[in-house]
Symmetry: C4
Subunit: 285 residues, 4 copies
């Protein structure tokens, strides 16, 4: 994927580049796998640090491990900066920022007091694995799903706009209906939150209607949600069914260049020329 | 979209009409976009007014803004009345009533005490954006979804009738089973509300069975709901799959009798004969 | 729909039969519509009787109305018995029993004390409307859905067996995991009830895991449920997509009688005979 | 299913083998049905033993029954060991271990104190029925479903990886947002558990956001879950639609070159030529 007129690097920087950014060499693949494992281990570490019963027992070990991970990621970040063809562009790219966010909280928490919650930011390290997945073309299967979602993007956007309008309207109406008697429906945003919880069939139950009219409206919303859930499913299903279909004949008309003819077409349906040599001219009218 | 024998308006009214009702001119489009933004801003204002912590800080600013929006909508309403070809018909049309509802609560709340909840009605302003969407043909993609829903309208109606009968029966049975021991199942309508909450898998938990038999029946209802949710999804999916297929031309080849050509076919793909008279023989190779 | 060797009824019984059981005459249709309205009204009455705040106000009116409905249904039942060709067979048929259940509770409640809950049985009157729907062939659209469900009956049965085994296993394991510390998982049936509530994504929250291991297992079950819900939906969708397809050519081969050829077939694919006259013998090899 | 060079057993062992392991003879089928019933009865017994109100009444009867089942399963296990061609391989096979687990807890509970929860392990007896189902090829219909799931295995795996990454990220962010004010979000694993409960639309409500920002993020997650649920459903639907299609014969007509004939076609439906040599010309009209 190198540019045509690419910047020449010193051989040792070139080598680092191949291992860290590349995925085609053995060393590059090995580096990706090691990185993947360390990212996972580090994220699990971040999680466990928030569990009091765990830190009570192995808090010190987690602290040491975390510094190990941070130093490893810092070295990696420096090597990436050194070996990148355009270090600044890397530093301000999406993954460059993620890489920076992955290491900075540990240092900050040392100098700043109350950096406890800041440490959680390290969980964003998880996003680093997307690069590995992407680079290694590991997930070929995902292309089909992503394409199906991309193709139905506009339909899903329309659907989301409709859902947002619906929950705003229903939320406002429910605030009007329940607001007076039910402290749970204390404001329209709260009511909209309830409408979303209900329409998506999550149904925590932290907010629920108590007046008969409110329950009646809620029941209508639920049944609508029931029908509405069919729409995105239908869109994605239809898209996946469509992408499953064998592509129509890949034969290109020799006369007009049109491709994509029907399955059993003998003649180009754009210009009438026979698509195959073996169709004798007698057959043609 | 003008009628054949349309009513002539004075030029200045004609101009207002083009801007406010029209969507084809530059000014008309700009007006639509400004209106869209003001509607959204005003609806967000209405929402925030109901949040106590917000009104404590910027309550006054919201009040002033709201009067600004109301005056804008009032002016717009008057201009619509003036420029409409048939003002009365507009005033009593669906969107005419919505436009009126969008402005009247603010005025009423000034004169009436306890108009607090009345103000919520202004959230219906949101429905005004449907006109803009509709007029601007902004959402071409929605046509496909709406058509799929329209085509499956009758199937979905049958399904809803079935769901309503099911929840009424199950609600009555559960009232019989749980009613004696569980105060939450205090009446059949309450039990039907529970059945809807359960069948749609919302499951607030505000009402739930406690007797073993009640829990057994509830479990059956849940598993049924699980299967039943497949039906509307299946209907819409099938409809969307069907509408995804390019509709094959209904033209039959005059030479070989083959029908079912591709969408833009000009020549029969079975024998190469032109499908339409207006395809000059020169076009044919 | 009369039998070949049907029982002759007296003309007046014949007339009653045509109106009550029949659906083809004007009087028969009118009777069905009136019956439908009365059934709905009576079921709404039964519901309202269970709501204390309603009976406090119009309890007496509901009581009188209920006796009106009961007398109407009783008369109708007697007329059905009189006009039925085989009265006993009718009395013990599915709808005959439903018709009987629709009237008996009101009489029993007069003589028996504590017949309060018995009255709820009258809600089963709702099932009477199925006869009207069925008889009037009112719901043509339902055939497609019912057929799709019938065709996928066996697949859905297999799926249900799998779901039942899964919830039993998961329920037992969760009783083992949570039972000691969480009083909500007090027995295996209770745990299975929880598993069903969770797998179907209803999620009341009346029973929920509190131990970390329990929550971990619950999370796995939820994600499984997420995937599992795809199966019945997929089955029904596939069935509905399939039944949507235009039936293959309705042309029957004149030589071997095979029907159901492919869309563009020219020759019977069973015996090789041309399907249409206009296929000249020259075309045949 | 015997191996080519199978081990010869003594005739009486051969006979036991046929009945216990086999499914083709009458005795083998009868044994399977009896075993199925006893497994179900024993699992129901295990369940009822955990319900205090049941054991208070028929606890003794259940205890005796359980010993009956255990002795039956022990005898069966011994017979399987004796008649198996390779007893050790059977003992350490999946079903061999399940068979052992089915009997050992009852014996252990007699010698060990506090074996109460160990007894629950007997519920795993349920897994024994899979062998019967498998052996008897009882569930032919399941093949289609299992195949559809197998074919979409990789897509579903990709989807699950995505879901896991999503809930980890969202859980971490919510711990950051809600953790300070809401004791329910006490650690990242707890927050991830909440994210799974929400994304799968189970929504117990045991953990729910209370801060406005938390509720806003939760609402976004719910609407995403709404869209995300479409993906596995779409995958399985598409797979089932695809597997529903009759696979068109891959035979190409020798005369006209047309491929893609119907399933049982004997003649090319385009030109009438026999598709196979063994179709005698007499068959042709």
């Amino acid at each position: 994927m190198r540019d045509q007129n690419e910047i020449r690097l010193a051989p040792w920087r070139e080598k680092i580049y191949t291992v860290i950014f590349g995925t085609d060499t053995k060393a590059g693949k090995l580096f990706d796998i090691i990185l993947l494992i360390i990212i996972f281990a580090s994220v699990i570490g971040v999680m466990l640090e928030t569990v009091d019963s765990v830190t009570a027992v192995i808090g010190r070990e987690l602290y040491i491990l975390e510094w190990g991970f941070t130093i490893f990621f810092t070295l990696e970040y420096i090597l990436r900066l050194i070996s990148a063809r355009k270090p600044l562009r890397y530093a301000f790219s999406f993954y460059g920022i993620i890489d920076f966010i992955a290491i900075i909280p540990t240092y900050l928490a040392t100098f700043l007091t109350g950096g406890h919650y800041l440490l959680v930011v390290r969980a964003l390290r998880l996003m680093r694995i997307f690069r590995i997945f992407k680079a290694a073309k590991f997930l070929k299967e995902s292309t089909l799903i992503v394409n199906a979602l991309k193709n139905s993007r506009e339909k899903i956007a329309v659907f989301l706009v409709f859902v947002l309008l619906l929950v705003t309207l229903v939320g406002s109406i429910m605030y009007f209906v329940e607001g007076g008697s039910n402290p749970e429906f204390s404001s329209i945003p709260e009511s909209i939150y309830w409408a979303i919880v209900t329409l998506t069939t999550v149904g925590y139950g932290d907010i629920h209607p108590i007046s008969p009219l409110g329950q009646f409206l809620a029941a209508i919303l639920m049944i609508m949600g029931y029908g509405v859930i069919a729409v995105p499913t239908g869109i994605v299903s239809a898209e996946l069914v469509r992408s499953d279909k064998p592509p129509s004949q890949e034969i290109t008309c020799r006369a007009c260049g049109k491709s994509g003819h029907m399955d059993r077409a003998k003649y180009c349906d754009n210009c009438g020329t026979p698509l195959f040599d073996h169709i004798s001219s007698q057959e043609t009218l």
